[in-house]
């Protein structure tokens, strides 16, 4: 395909308060190419694309798009409707679908005048069917979107853009919610469409996807375009260097042979309202000196399992054994006293009490410790000294230890939780999506602490959607699917991916 530019982002800048989210970003997109937009969390990828689609108004810069007469016309900024008309389609990370209406209705919504007495369904249906057969994207059209799977919803999102005759498609972290197989199917469909002239920008921070599917890549760091290259010339090292500014050390744990079992779940069932919040006859053994990775797409019961081990949910059937002895009093406080450390998935809501100060949050799990309190009165000097020491040790940065903890950034909140949990030298650590949403620096801190805890003789249960993380950290892997655990015999990415998707290997 001959290279001809179809879209120019010229010097775009956007400031939110004191944060410069995008700083003079210039990107040109070629016809028929797949351009990967890479960067750490908070590098400004999504902000940039939201400006392109008119959700945000840039502070400076402009956007030009090739018109039918082959000349460049400026795009009206801050107006999604103008972007749609110009042929830009966007698939947001959080789907913009109404779940109470059908896929067909979502696709046609807004494409026809609001004030007409009837809907012209037949023509629309024909057009959608055409698009589906050309692109290979299939989705049931006439049941409410709320009943579709995540993969189907994403296809509906793309169909929505194509229905509006998009020739530039922007995908924001399209594979975050997909199984590896679904992701592969998505990319092969995209490839098919780019051959028909579609240009694609996709936002991601997964290297593997960039290297295998894109033609060219652009790296953003701190809101700036810090480099672009042809994918054929790129390597993981090169990209990582651009993304973080210097090469980061990947965590390669040395594996110690595990010790004896410390925690066993014995045939446990929890009856929830749906599959998402139930467990069915789960048995699991965690040994000391072991990181047990639980892979799986979220919503398959991981959160119930996490709540169970945290003492928030009681099993309806079965027992939890700590070193062979059944735990009698299952409640959060007792679990902490028994040596459980918890790194919850939703760190903002479950990990901290946002309104309390950093120092208070650091001792919140051991308030009955006589070091902390005297007859119910908190010893604030001890608490503050503790926070001072831990903040330095764990590199928790923020406006101050006496300030509300919700003012910390996500990465620093996670470090606060690490400080609280690991200072107690827990024997069993439950880490639920511990690095989700963190940048590389904070994520590798988290991973380092998990490995240290294991090397000290603890057992770690690592629940993660990030298969790379599981493969890199875990000594043993099980897959969670449909409220059940499945043992993994092979450690190949494909085999685990298939198990996550529900196929037997």
């Amino acid at each position: 395909m001959e290279a001809s530019t179809v879209l120019k982002l010229n010097g775009l800048a956007k400031r939110f308060g004191s944060i410069l989210a995008n700083d003079d970003v210039t990107i040109h997109l070629q016809k028929g190419e797949v351009l990967a937009l890479l960067g750490e969390n908070g590098a400004g990828k999504t902000t940039l694309m939201n400006m392109l689609f008119g959700h945000y108004l840039p502070d400076s810069g402009n956007i030009e798009i090739k018109s039918v007469n082959d000349d460049f016309v400026p795009l009206e900024l801050g107006n999604p409707s103008a972007a749609l008309t110009a042929g830009i389609g966007m698939v947001h990370q959080h789907f913009t679908l109404a779940e109470n209406i059908t896929a067909f209705e979502n696709i046609t919504l807004g494409a026809e005048p609001l004030f007409s007495l009837r809907r012209n369904q037949r023509k629309a249906e024909k057009k959608i069917n055409n698009i589906m057969s050309n692109s290979g994207l299939e989705a049931p059209l006439d049941i409410p979107v709320g009943r579709l799977s995540v993969g189907e919803r994403q296809r509906v999102e793309i169909l929505k853009a194509l229905y509006r005759d998009a020739h530039i498609l922007v995908l924001d972290e399209p594979t975050a919610v997909l199984t590896p197989q679904e992701a592969d199917a998505l990319f092969s469909n995209l490839r098919r469409m780019t051959k028909q002239g579609l240009s694609v920008i996709f936002i991601t921070h997964k290297m593997r996807e960039v290297l295998s599917f894109s033609d060219r890549l652009v790296v953003l760091r701190h809101g700036k375009n810090v480099g672009s290259m042809e994918t054929s010339n790129a390597s993981e090292k090169k990209i990582a260097r651009l993304m973080v500014g210097s090469e980061t050390q990947k965590v390669f744990p040395k594996r110690i042979t595990p010790g004896g079992p410390i925690l066993s779940l014995n045939d446990i069932s929890v009856a929830g309202r749906s599959k998402r919040d139930s467990l069915q006859n789960i048995s699991l053994t965690l040994k000391s000196h072991e990181i047990l990775g639980i892979a799986g797409i979220s919503g398959n019961g991981q959160n119930v399992l996490a709540d169970l081990i945290s003492g928030l949910v009681l099993p309806d059937k079965g027992s939890i054994l700590l070193k062979g002895v059944a735990i009698q009093n299952i409640n959060p406080l007792n679990m902490i006293k028994l040596g459980f450390g918890r790194i919850p998935e939703d760190r903002h809501r479950q990990g901290i009490v946002g309104g309390l100060s950093v120092s208070e949050n650091m001792v919140i799990e051991r308030l009955d410790d006589p070091l902390i309190q005297n007859f119910g009165f908190l010893r604030s000097s001890v608490i503050n000294d503790n926070a001072q020491t831990l903040s330095e040790k764990y590199d928790v940065r923020g406006p101050g230890i006496d300030q509300a903890s919700r003012l910390l950034s996500g990465g620093n909140i996670q470090k606060l939780i690490l400080a609280r949990v690991f200072e107690q030298q827990p024997k069993i650590i439950l880490a639920n999506q511990p690095t989700r949403g963190l940048d590389m620096g904070a994520a590798s801190d988290v991973q380092r602490h998990l490995i240290e805890a294991r090397d000290r003789g603890g057992g770690v249960i690592l629940i993660s959607e990030d298969l790379d993380e599981i493969l890199g950290l875990a000594d043993r892997i099980v897959v969670m699917r449909d409220a059940n655990l499945h043992d993994v015999n092979s450690s190949s990415r494909e085999a685990i991916g298939l198990m996550m998707a529900g196929e037997s290997v």
Partner: protein, 314 residues
């Protein structure tokens, strides 16, 4: 039991049920449109009062019956616009704004009434809507007697049920209203204005609520009294949940409530000696609560109800 059966077989019972249900039909439809777009409108009780007062006063001042209805519609729309401005672009608490509108609208109506008529002890009467007599149809047995004892406003309410159903289920506008109440981002991403759709839904919904109030002073009675709305607005808020935000079920809910109310009046006269009258007065509300408890368990709320949406914040 025989007594109840006898009552249920009379045409006057069914005619009364439909009459009592009429203001509720307007109210439920209005609340349903607001909530389908994602906004709870607790201003409904006050907007009923406004509709009752304005419609009646405009007619009394010489605007004619349909002129009065138009005035009530516009006054309801006005208070809806206040609620819309506060809750949609400004994103304030829908509960606080709604209750504020109810207090404000009720007081302003009473104030206007007292200022315009400082000295009267009994309010001036107007010539209200008369039952529509449609030749031939009115002569049908039973049905004729039930339907054709009703005024034009009852017919308007029934037409509104059909209209709202058609708009919600058969037009692009209805699609946009349903979508904006489920996920406003879906509407925004398709280039439609979330603010415009939500605000218009609240304005039109509130105008319909005011018609429910106007029915009280211009059809059920012929004058305006203090306290005459008497919680009908709140009943509508409950009926919307009972109806799971569907116009057809809204009609059924309103009729059910009307039937309970009509029944209790008749039972009071028949059995008043045996059971205290208050028990019967209470009956429609108790039965509504019971029906609500059953229906609300499976209620499928518009997902974005009560959640403000801000442009440019994703």
């Amino acid at each position: 039991m025989i007594d109840i059966l006898n009552i249920l077989l009379t045409d006057s019972f069914w005619a009364a049920s439909l009459r009592i249900a009429t203001p509720l039909i307007f109210g439920v439809l209005g609340a349903l449109i607001c909530e389908r777009s994602g906004t709870l409108n607790l201003g409904i009780e006050g907007i009923f009062v406004v509709g009752a007062m304005c419609g009646w006063m405009a007619t009394w001042l010489g605007a004619g019956l349909w002129g009065g209805i138009l005035v009530a519609f516009l006054c309801g729309a006005f208070f809806g616009l206040i609620h819309a401005l506060l809750t949609v672009p400004l994103g304030l608490s829908q509960h606080v704004s709604g209750l504020g509108i109810t207090l404000f609208a009720t007081s302003v109506s009473y104030f206007t009434y007292r200022t315009a008529l400082p000295d009267v002890s009994s309010p001036p009467r107007i010539e209200p809507f008369q039952p529509l007599d449609i030749p031939i149809l009115s002569d049908l047995p039973f049905i004729g007697l039930v339907l054709f004892q009703q005024t034009a406003l009852t017919w308007l309410a029934l037409i509104m049920v059909l209209l709202v159903w058609y708009v919600l289920n058969r037009t692009n506008l209805g699609l946009a209203i349903k979508a904006v109440g489920d996920n406003p981002n879906s509407v925004d991403a398709q280039g439609l204005s979330v603010y415009a759709i939500r605000m218009w839904a609240i304005v039109i919904g509130s105008a319909l609520m005011a018609l429910g109030g106007a029915f009280l002073t211009m059809s059920a009675f012929d004058a305006f009294f203090f306290g005459m709305v008497n919680g009908r607005g709140w009943v509508c808020i409950a009926l919307v949940i009972f109806a799971s935000w569907r116009p057809g079920k809204a009609l059924i809910g309103a009729l059910l409530f009307g039937a309970f109310d009509a029944l209790q009046v008749r039972l009071q006269t028949e059995m008043g000696a045996l059971v205290p009258g208050q028990v019967f007065l209470m009956a429609p509300y108790v039965l509504s609560i019971a029906a609500l408890v059953i229906a609300a368990r499976s209620a499928d709320y518009p997902r974005a109800l009560l959640t403000p949406w801000y442009k440019g914040q994703r």
